[in-house]
Symmetry: D2
Subunit: 343 residues, 4 copies
């Protein structure tokens, strides 16, 4: 940590900063410069309460030098995390994972029909919501346990792994009974009670980036889960809040590259929420693979125009199958491949 | 709801939109224009699944005309909501409410000392966190029930009302035993399980705007609480995520005006989180009152430089007392006043 | 244009809106709804002064239905614009164009050396700045006419087309003598005097999206150029201002898809400014091609660490040559190709 | 400048950073830490090309410690800049300046009528555009020199000072003949040719913050003007691009406080563009004064509903006169006052 002093800071100002640093149990080392003094804080263990320094007299700025996350950091662990799901699908390796399915589980027929066509298209992980976070209290909120049962049936028939969302610590226990991967949604990325519960559930976690979360905050949220003992965390970029409504969200594909540089965790991209409209999903799924994503997560519905939620962004199964071919070509062009389909 | 068709949409396109509208149980009425046809959807009860329409062939755009919130809307209830807290403090009336206190409850001495000086300054509502949502899992997380007990002692001694945060549905029950107002933090604004629980707790709720939430989303989050039966909701603007680090957050004071136009609920402003640095709190507290806020919520600590959290933004008690004088002058200049101090 | 009335608007309110519409020379048609009245404005020629309506009593909102741009709109001209540069390079067709070169022209040796290696890598359009817009008045501002002369020499030797930036109407005349494509930078996207001058120069224009410009504003800026007579406009996505500093800018690749839907103009992507750091350029260049961009524009410098400007984002020539191979593979995987190299 | 090395950077990495620093003519000083080495760059004269360092092997981050602006910095000049306009109005002192007038000059009757009523309300500076930057090429672009002549007539009759916008270097010369203050609009904040020309015109300059400009960029733009010799620069906050359409722009009043901390230049606030709608202008004008602005700039039109531009945000003269009374009360409540009206 570096404490930058104002140009006209007095010797007393510098001394009082040094005193506070000592009081917190660290060592301060002044670095005289041409225009101003800066003070290096030595011994930062990631718990320095910088707020005590930033408003002291003569202080211009306090600059963190240490990253606040540890266990998820690539700096502290070079090797990429590789996660093997119950059905053998490997995330974080050379193979790019296809996750697909409807926004909400609506009925047995719906989920089985789409699961079958997705399996044929090469998908090995099925997504589908049983508990839905909705902006309006009057919108459809999911089938609950019945939805989980239906996902289970789809898994049994197809062999696909299941990823589905939990909304609160109570619901998480139920979801953990069924899911191969527990999803934490964007609105809950900083719901710390939920993150901690997810870290104790014994199931891999897919953590979606919050709508205005920085990559650093995403990694800190992952650190919450890992610090409870669950190392199998998959990150997910799903679009940020932007100022332009040409798309529903602003898909930040550069985050894929930044996450790979800063962390050893795998990251997938959700172009469905990331764009919000069907026509934009295929090009952005392709772009995600080209950018180096470890997987894509796409909403597919047997009859999009009848979907009870997110109808506008759900793809038709046939269009999705076409997309898979393009994704495979792109993966191969950059020295990767799609994960092998289930038998 | 208005469905705008593309310039070159065919008659079949228009017909299929009309069919989907009928299928959802509404009536569609085509409005021919000079350049394109638009279709008005008649009978919107706020539950139209617009996703089914937006991606139909020939559709350029779907424009909502009805606001998706109801009970919190000024359009449906003209009179401002006025909330009387247990100690008689009235929020949402002519009087502007002062809410102040430390970020975290740290010790009996700390909370009592600051409560006494705040009462002398005219404050009638004491804030202080017993459960703290922290970006890093390694940061101080609050005293828990002990913190609530300490707040209770401060209330007993001073007569101030207590506002304190709940982080999850379980914790909320405990908080509700002690608090006069339950605070829902910005990171939890769309934690719907928590919102529902708060709406059933029988205690007024202070709902902070999420870091990148629109005013409409804030009102929808309030609607979650109201729809569970709790009409006493106080909104709080606390700064948005911005692109410029000249302040920690981007305080959106215009939201005060927008909320008053769109909703009958009271709104207070938190200039401490809204700016993140002590020197900026007084001018922005003054600006909040001038903009028409129904209250300000300010972090004050007996020894800011020793605060375990948010040290940089906590004010000194003496500076806060000076600020109160300015706020009173501004309130009177715009035909309002501060609420009367406790005896 | 749709004028949405408040729920409790009076008949007089509706009548006065109708009167203002008539006064402006259009026709208003009331559309009664279940909750409120809306008024359709018939005959909108794109010049309606909606400000006169939006603040009238009883008006809730004014919703534009007509797009404000015309000549650049895909709705009014289905066929994509295809632009052939002086050296035969075609932009906007099936072939994806490679534009590359240093940020600034620095010396004859620098520009010739990089031009030769780029030509070998298959690049047909050379970029390089002779006039540099710099955030600080104390930073290097470019070689001026000397830089243009050096670009000319590089063109003569290699046959590449030249794209270079103009900063103001005077400078533009000089740039137009040399350039095959005149670049308008992001900071000048709404410098209307410059746009008009560019539209009259008789040279194709590459228009970069402003740092916080919507796609609609980008298209309107293009409309300025086209409305002066220059139809050969190439748009460029180069990253937006975001709240997260994990990258210098927030590259909005979805804009490629939106531009292709809304307009017939070609669009290229600049991953160098779009990310700001060398390691992120190749993945985002790949993503741009996968998303459907008509070209990529990449900063390459013979010795990046000695570059006088944008050193951090310039690629090494050898790395760029590797990237070209990947881009070709991706282009072919989506049914396109790179434009053929020069002989 | 501080160069932070990666945790696992080698000695060679550190040495090569030191070599590049020496090559640029500065001195590097390694600062060993518990987790990593940082290197202080000594002798920074504000011209360090940090791009040469940021992408070197082993470098994690380069952190600027010196502010890139000098002449406008409060750190280098403590005393606030006080600017006296031709008619004696003082900006930047204890008195808060009222600037008001229509968006565009439309006719002699319009400008004289509004000028008279504004003078009666206590306004001493008249604003009005003769050259208008418009997002659409088809919108009204201003009366040009005729508009300047009309402003001159209003000045002659009322004694008010005139502020009006220049769009390009050529137009600036003409504007400088008439204006008491030349306005540079938000879209041109980084139009460096225009900034330089404005710095040489011999007339005070009002510089509006760009729609997504940081405060630092605003100060750097001001530095362009000052570095050409014109020290009389007035900054203006006019709202930023935000993600929420509850108001046209996101008015960043905290910037007033930040500018006063970082710079000695005065800053005014434009709540008309800052909110975009008439009903929100008075509360935000009041908030601006309470936040410490040195002036407010408000659009007032004799008949807002007939205004050719920005009709929705223009105030009625009578409402504005009421507002002035409130602003005076607020100014006095914080120890300031409005500037005295003209005789």
């Amino acid at each position: 940590m570096l404490i930058v002093m104002r140009h006209n800071a007095s010797t007393e100002d510098v001394d009082s900063v040094l005193a506070v640093i000592r009081d917190m149990g660290y060592e301060g080392r002044p670095i005289p410069g041409r225009q101003r003094v800066a003070i290096g804080l030595i011994g930062n263990d990631g718990k320095v309460n910088s707020g005590r320094l930033v408003a002291l007299p003569g202080v211009l700025e306090v600059i963190p030098v240490t990253q606040p996350y540890k266990q998820v950091s690539r700096e502290w662990r070079e090797d990429s995390t590789v996660i093997e799901l119950a059905n053998g699908t490997v995330m974080g390796g050379r193979g790019i994972v296809l996750v697909a399915g409807p926004c909400s589980v609506e009925s047995e027929e719906q989920i089985l029909s789409v699961a079958r066509s997705l399996k044929r298209a090469g998908v090995t992980v099925l997504r589908g919501g049983a508990f839905k976070p909705r902006t309006s209290p009057y919108a459809f909120q999911g089938l609950g346990r019945e939805g989980l049962e239906l996902l289970d049936r789809a898994r049994e028939e197809t062999g696909m792994a299941i990823v589905t969302e939990a909304l609160d610590p109570e619901g998480l226990e139920m979801v953990a009974e069924y899911a191969d991967v527990i999803q934490i949604g964007a609105r809950n990325m900083q719901n710390y009670s939920l993150l901690r519960a997810a870290g104790r559930a014994g199931v891999p976690v897919l953590l979606k980036r919050g709508m205005s979360a920085t990559v650093q905050e995403l990694l800190l949220a992952a650190e919450y889960i890992v610090s409870e003992g669950e190392a199998r965390v998959i990150l997910c970029e799903r679009g940020l809040r932007g100022f332009d409504d040409h798309a529903r969200n602003m898909l930040d594909l550069t985050a894929v590259v930044s996450v790979h540089e800063l962390s050893h965790l795998p990251i997938v991209v959700d172009p469905s929420h990331g764009t919000g409209i069907r026509t934009k999903v295929p090009p952005m799924a392709r772009a995600a693979v080209a950018a180096g994503a470890d997987g894509v997560m796409v909403e597919v519905h047997p009859e999009p125009d009848r979907s009870v939620s997110d109808a506008a962004q759900a793809m038709y199964p046939a269009d999705f199958a076409d997309l898979v071919g393009e994704l495979r070509g792109i993966a191969q062009a950059i020295g990767r491949d799609l994960v092998a389909p289930l038998d």
